[in-house]
């Protein structure tokens, strides 16, 4: 038996499953951090986790609130300067998987985390790109974790903060990019992958008890489905236990730091 689980838990667990023991991951805060550490605590004990704060091979016992928590440094193989992190390790092509997310995404996996509305007079000023523009271009491939809603999955981005597949197949190559770009979008409802000849993201797997209608309703563009949509295997008891223990340890630790 699996027991009940939240859509957010399913998203994190699906993302964790996508990681290999041999991966070198550039980890972001939030779902990516939970997914990467869940992978490390389950099927990928030797996975290398790198945070842009400079920590290489970190093994935190609780999830960091920021990408630079002391826990990350104290448990790392070593910690390098931020310029070195971006020059030798990210730009150096040493990262196999980078995680990205965003406020808005389009059907080609381009992301906006900069502004809603005109840049000079924004309706909503978002945090900005941070490491994302170069994570999107320098990592071997990128995984995107993002909760589905029509406000997030939009027909057209007002601002491209990080580049996915542009307007479709061949656009990355045209820019001289040799990396794969986004190969997977993992949401709270389903998993999407780019269609080989168009690079448009289509649903390849629906999470348990999620209908095609529900997913369509949560997407701002006419969402397409792969010929053979699978059902995402539900979380195993082990996956749920480890994730929930991790979250509990984390909550406890951070509330202590008031």
């Amino acid at each position: 038996m699996t027991g009940t689980f939240t859509p957010n838990e399913m998203m994190t667990i699906v993302a964790a499953r996508a990681l290999k023991n041999s991966d070198v991951c550039f980890v972001g805060i939030g779902a990516p951090s939970a997914a990467c550490n869940l992978a490390r605590l389950t099927h990928a004990p030797d996975i290398t986790l790198i945070y842009e704060s400079g920590t290489i091979g970190t093994r935190p016992t609780v999830l960091p609130l920021s990408i630079g928590d002391g826990e990350l440094c104290a448990t790392a193989l070593t910690t390098v300067s931020v310029p070195e992190m971006f020059r030798y390790w990210l730009q150096g092509g040493r990262i196999t998987v980078g995680f990205l997310s965003g406020a808005q995404i389009d059907r080609y996996g381009n992301l906006n985390t900069t502004v809603v509305g005109p840049y000079e007079k924004p309706k909503v000023r978002l945090p900005g790109g941070g490491g994302a523009p170069e994570i999107a271009s320098s990592c071997g491939e990128t995984f995107i974790t993002i909760a589905m809603s029509p406000r997030a999955f939009v027909e057209r981005l007002g601002f491209i903060t990080s580049f996915g597949h542009g307007r479709g197949r061949g656009d990355r190559e045209a820019l001289g990019l040799k990396t794969k770009g986004p190969t997977r979008i993992m949401t709270d409802l389903c998993v999407l992958e780019p269609e080989p000849d168009t690079k448009e993201f289509v649903v390849v797997s629906l999470h348990p008890d999620v209908t095609q209608e529900a997913v369509r309703a949560a997407c701002g563009w006419p969402l397409r489905f792969s010929p053979q949509v699978k059902e995402t295997p539900p979380p195993t008891p082990e996956e749920l236990r480890v994730l929930r223990e991790l979250q509990a340890r984390t909550k406890k630790a951070h509330s202590a730091d008031a």
Binding site: G54, P127, G166, R172
Partner: protein
């Protein structure tokens, strides 16, 4: 050559209205006490440079100290928005704020180029994205051997860089340990550098032969301010007050609440107030 002095003196002597100021510290060792002193001394028309503005720049911006912000990620890490930053950009309160926006890679390279006394930084970046359309300081340079086009940004050369570090020895040599971020580059790129430290010691107790140390002749002033990084942290001294970062979301959301908090906790207090933060955090 550096001098030991009070934080008041260090800021008064090195930070002027209209200066380009970099207060660095990548989550770790953020110089909050020094930032508060800049607010107390009511510096105006500053250009503030920081990869992650964080709460300290949210406070400076909300108090009207800055005309311009150079940054690459403007959020409250793991929490959400920087409401004072957003209010300034979206509504011009308390005054309009001009933005020069980059990516982390661009800013890290720009500091690095500044430390190396180069006029610009070259890197692989900004491929296919819109930021170059709104930031004229993002240009390209061609490799003279392969003809490849790469991204270029101007080196960052602040008038003054302000950092917090673990400790300084009597001679004024400063040690940083842990997540060292871009502080060494930011200090070496600047005309002047102000450092606050947790303590002054006889022997730096450098961890290893290749420790990150800024010699006394690379900085302008050092002030001993225990707890001076709170609510950020100092590895080996006290932990990050994650709870404060979460609490700031509510404090900063409302203009009046923000102003009241600043009056009670910054304008009405001196750097010695940080001593208790440091201690409390250590005990945590």
């Amino acid at each position: 050559m550096t001098e030991f002095c009070s934080l008041e003196e260090a800021i008064a002597r090195n930070v002027r209205d209209g200066d380009t100021v970099a207060m660095e510290g990548f989550t770790h060792l953020i110089p909050y006490a020094a930032g508060h002193e800049v607010i107390r001394q009511q510096r105006k028309h500053l250009t503030l440079i920081r990869m992650t503005p964080d709460l300290i720049y949210d406070q400076l911006i909300g108090m009207g100290a800055a005309d311009r912000l150079v940054f690459s990620w403007g959020g409250n890490p793991g929490v959400g928005s920087l409401h004072r930053l957003r209010d300034a950009v979206e509504n011009g309160w308390p005054q309009p704020l001009a933005l020069e926006e980059h990516s982390h890679a661009a800013m890290a390279n720009a500091y690095e180029a500044g430390a190396a006394n180069l006029p610009f930084a070259v890197f692989r970046g900004y491929k296919g994205v819109d930021l170059p359309k709104v930031n004229p300081k993002i240009r390209t340079v061609e490799c003279p051997f392969t003809g490849e086009k790469l991204a270029a940004v101007p080196a960052i050369r602040p008038d003054v860089t302000i950092i917090h570090a673990q400790r300084a020895d009597r001679a004024g040599n400063v040690l940083l340990d842990g997540i060292v971020g871009v502080q060494k580059q930011a200090v070496l790129a600047a005309k002047r550098a102000v450092v606050t430290v947790e303590e002054q010691v006889e022997d730096l107790g450098a961890p290893g032969l290749n420790a990150v140390i800024l010699p006394a002749w690379t900085t302008s002033a050092i002030a001993v301010v225990p707890g001076g990084a709170y609510p950020s942290y100092a590895q080996g001294y006290y932990r990050r007050a994650n709870g404060f970062y979460i609490a700031w979301d509510d404090i900063s959301r409302d203009r009046t609440k923000f102003q009241d908090w600043m009056r009670d906790n910054v304008l009405g207090k001196g750097p010695e107030a940080f001593r208790s933060y440091g201690r409390r955090a250590v005990e945590a």
